[in-house]
């Protein structure tokens, strides 16, 4: 077992500079979470509460001819039944999904509950509220739905064929900004062009052209979606939801149900994982309508099958890539076509796949064509660095193939081509200060990479990854208590320790222990607007809001002390929790003493802060993996894994390591096992954790981490988002390791045992 390491060239300086940042305090919500006391989505219990269950389409693609709910309504214990007819007409209204932008409302409503057409297996068509979940389930069996079954469209390339059946008869391609005249499954085609491809390829000594595919995979959070709604007769609605963004739920439900935002309060519960999948709404509007109809609170909790069938997998994809390099390994040109599944409604994350694809490298000539394609699968949702693993997998695999061909070291080719500050990216935006080179150098120099790997059927793979990160709006409210502690209400739901990483930044400003900051996640009535917990943005942006709140409290304390001491406020300073004069008359008091005094006088000290920081900076990672392949069974064993990543500044290093380790393991699952199996009728055949095989503890070694700190100039403490980029390199790192172990290059994910065996037998 290898210890985790932190590599920080300026460590001593940092240790002197910061008292709280860089330490590893126990999280504030920790005791609740190790004692079973923390209240998650399904734990909500209200007096008189009913249980809601959702009827789902048994077909992948079918027109809904009629729905008869009479028998279900008559069942003893059933209090309400609903269909899409209970939603107000969406018309041409739009909804804002924060990180995912502005989207038309109609498809969002239809995804929550199908109105005229079911477009994937498991698509919601009706719902029941009853006195027990079992009665609600019985009632679902009494709802009669008449379907006209249509041929399903399951493959992204087949869906693009001229003669493919259509998922939506009224969908027209947005073709480079122009609407096409013929309906199609291609929702949009966009393009980024930089430089001149023909010149670039002419300058190349070697050119490769390959195809790469990713299966549809799920975020796999352990907590199923859960929403409880209480609709009062006065029109006020309260909801308890497990979500990545309470304000996003408020906006979505407000728009779908066309009720005033002021009458809707969303209380975020603890959240049992999301990874992007708990941004869209599913059961939330359903619970609200059922509550309105039944006149009682209603809780809608999904089971695991529903989670797999009907919530956001990420896009399955097809990528065609052509790259040219010189004999020295310099990349001269890259041309790519990305086709991503959007699921049943338009809106895959192909755009981010395009932006991230070549970002680790400075390439003069690139063309990227991106296609967003509907198929009869669940509407895709964000999944950790959404879009990036699919496209970067192709680049990272091909670079390794060039390395093998030219006898180059995988680290050296990355350093030779590595992106630096000011380099223009493929979509025309220059890179800010980034840690691409520093990260790769740390990976090259690490003990793992410097230790030779020996043994038959063993190989070492290297891959890098980039993710854009996000800024967006975040709010906090902070108030000084009479005992000198600070109560901190945060708008960001805490999915992995961010109460503490945010509180640490406020504590640092005031020079008080982080235990003296009491953070909580607030509901939508109690804190300013805050975007989703996503885009690796919470410690960056909400942390910045907390930093500002700390600064505001600091100024107020200095002013109050100056007032008491009858000196100019410029002659008072605050450091390490002590306020003191700087004019030589050596008066001082602790924050606790001043807080007690101000509290007695009835003077309130506190601040509300809202920020929308822009300069989030990109995140880089380079990973090294050793594998052993069993040539008889095709099983790939991960022997050793090291993840190296630029964190900008690691506020709480344990949680940075945790993000890196968790992302790596999701990437390993994606690489080796995870995929949606659909049969020829488009029905999902593996909607359980037994058949959708996520990594267990037995499948893995310890995941070694090396944190590189290249401070982000766009944040007061230099923070960069860290959560998402670690899922990007593993797929290619594992593929490259397999190639080095047994001499087969695999471009289709997952690289399951049967895939490996097939490739090995084709080779021999």
């Amino acid at each position: 077992m290898n210890p985790t390491q932190t590599m920080d060239p300026a460590k001593t300086e940092v240790e002197q500079k910061y008292k709280v940042i860089g330490t590893r305090p126990i999280r504030h919500d920790g005791v609740d979470k190790v004692t079973g006391r923390a209240v998650y989505g399904a734990d909500v219990q209200l007096p008189g509460m009913l249980h809601g269950k959702v009827l789902r389409s048994p077909h992948a693609h079918a027109n809904i001819k009629s729905i008869n709910t009479a028998k279900a309504e008559a069942l003893y214990g059933v209090k309400a039944v609903m269909t899409a007819a209970d939603f107000p007409d969406a018309g041409s209204r739009t909804a804002n999904l924060g990180e995912l932008g502005e989207v038309p409302l109609k498809p969002m409503c239809d995804n929550v509950m199908a109105s005229d057409k079911a477009v994937y297996h498991g698509h919601a068509v009706a719902a029941v509220a009853a006195t027990s979940p079992h009665i609600a389930e019985e009632a679902l069996g009494l709802i009669e739905v008449e379907y006209e079954v249509l041929p399903p469209v399951m493959d992204v390339l087949k869906a693009m064929d001229e003669d493919s059946p259509l998922v939506h008869e009224d969908l027209y391609t947005d073709e480079l900004g122009e609407k096409s005249s013929k309906p199609s499954n291609v929702a949009s085609h966009t393009r980024h062009v930089k430089g001149d491809l023909s010149q670039g390829f002419a300058a190349a000594d070697h050119v490769l052209e390959r195809e790469y595919r990713c299966a549809t995979v799920h975020q796999g959070y352990i907590e199923p979606h859960a929403a409880t709604a209480m609709w009062n007769p006065d029109g006020y609605v309260t909801m308890w939801v497990t979500t990545q963004g309470a304000f996003t739920v408020r906006t979505s439900v407000h728009q779908i149900l066309d009720i005033p935002v002021s009458k809707l309060k969303v209380i975020p519960t603890e959240i049992g994982g999301g990874f992007g999948g708990k941004i869209p709404v599913y059961g939330e509007p359903v619970a609200a309508v059922l509550s309105r109809k039944a006149g009682r609170p209603v809780k809608v909790v999904m089971d695991r099958t529903e989670v797999f069938q009907a919530t956001g997998p990420t896009s399955g994809s097809y990528v065609k890539l052509k790259m040219g390099v010189t004999s020295e390994g310099r990349i001269t040109a890259a041309e790519t076509m990305l086709a991503y599944e959007a699921g049943g409604y338009p809106g895959s994350i192909v755009a981010l796949g395009g932006i991230c694809m070549f970002a680790p490298y400075n390439i003069d000539n690139t063309t990227i064509d991106m296609y967003d394609v509907v198929v009869n699968k669940p509407k895709t949702a964000a999944y950790r660095a959404p879009g990036a693993p699919n496209s970067e997998f192709a680049v990272e695999c091909m670079l390794d193939e060039f390395c093998e061909m030219l006898g180059l070291d995988p680290m050296e080719i990355r350093l030779l081509n590595g992106a630096k500050e000011g380099d223009i990216q493929s979509h025309g935006i220059p890179h800010p200060r980034i840690g691409c080179i520093e990260t790769t150098e740390a990976a090259r120099d690490c003990e793992h990479y410097q230790t030779p790997l020996e043994g038959p059927n063993r190989g070492r793979g290297v891959a890098s990854g980039y993710w854009v990160n996000a800024g967006l709006t975040s709010s906090v409210t902070a108030r000084l208590n009479g005992d000198g502690t600070v109560t901190l209400q945060e708008g960001s739901t805490d999915i992995g320790g961010t109460r503490t990483s945010i509180a640490m930044q406020l504590a640092e400003v005031l020079g008080i222990p982080v235990e003296d900051v009491v953070p909580s996640v607030a509901d939508t009535d109690s804190v300013g607007y805050t975007e989703v917990t996503g885009g690796s943005r919470v410690t960056f942006a909400t942390g910045w809001a907390a930093y500002n709140a700390g600064q505001a409290i600091k100024s107020q304390l200095i002013e109050q002390a100056a007032d008491i001491w009858k000196v100019d406020k410029d002659q008072v300073s605050l450091a390490d929790g002590v306020i003191a004069t700087t004019n030589g008359n050596s008066r001082s008091m602790t924050i606790k003493e001043l807080a007690a005094d101000l509290s007695q006088k009835g003077i309130d000290v506190g601040s509300r802060e809202t920020v929308t920081p822009q300069n989030h900076g990109g995140a880089y990672a380079t990973h090294v993996v050793d594998v052993e392949v069993d040539p008889d069974t095709g099983k790939v064993t991960i022997l050793r894994y090291t993840a190296v990543q630029d964190a900008g500044r690691a506020i709480h290093p344990s949680y940075v390591e945790g993000q890196m380790q968790g992302g790596v393991v999701q990437g390993i699952g994606w690489a080796l096992n995870e995929e949606y199996f659909y049969n020829e009728d488009g029905l999902l055949m593996n909607s359980s954790f037994l058949d959708y095989r996520m990594p267990t503890s037995l499948d893995l070694p310890m995941i070694e981490t090396i944190i590189v700190e290249v401070p982000n100039p766009g944040h007061p403490y230099g923070v960069r988002g860290v959560g998402e980029v670690p899922i990007v390199p593993p797929q290619a790192a594992v593929s490259n390791a397999i190639a080095r172990a047994v001499g087969v290059r695999l471009g289709d994910l997952p690289m399951s045992p049967q895939t490996v065996v097939k490739a090995l037998s084709a080779k021999s």
Binding site: M1, R24, I26, R27, D29, G30, V31, K33, V34, T35, G36, R37, A38, V39, Y40, A42, D43, Q45, H134, Q219, G220, Y221, I222, E223, P224, E270, I271, G272, G273, G274, F275, V301, D303, R304, I495, G496, G497, H652, S654, Y655, E657, G658, Q659, Q661, G662, G663, V664, V665, Q666, S688, F689, L690, M694, P695, T696, S697, L698, L700, M702, I703
Partner: protein
Amino acid sequence: MAAKVHVAATINGEPVEFLCEPRQSLLEVLRDELKLTGSKEGCNNGNCGACSVILDGLLVDACIVLGAEIDGCTVETIEGLMGSEGLHPLQQTFLENAALQCGICTPGFIMAGKALLEKNPQASEGDIRHWCAGNLCRCTGYDKIVRAILDAEPQLEVKK
């Protein structure tokens, strides 16, 4: 609907009686009837371990045991782990190792860890990985969970 069944059991050291439908799982009984919501439902078919409890000394998934089956049995859940002297060593080492991110799998992992260390107080990294293969965590990659269980071993030794 079938008549409810009367069940008497010992849960977290206390005698408990309840009525349950024959079709209700132990997990439903714990969560819905007894309001012990620390045991979580992740899959409801014995695949994820989020509802791990100790039944007569044996680690089980409460979602695939019927409530009616526990008549006369002893059940330990996450709610019973913390005593008057504070957190159980496993709870403490999970916190110190940052062994949870979202925390939904944590009660199940802690119960699994407890059952393991009662059987095998000097479990190796490999033993822990093998034993915990029935508990899924999607956030941590298991690294810090394994470390937390290893760290609890000497503390439990001292406690004895």
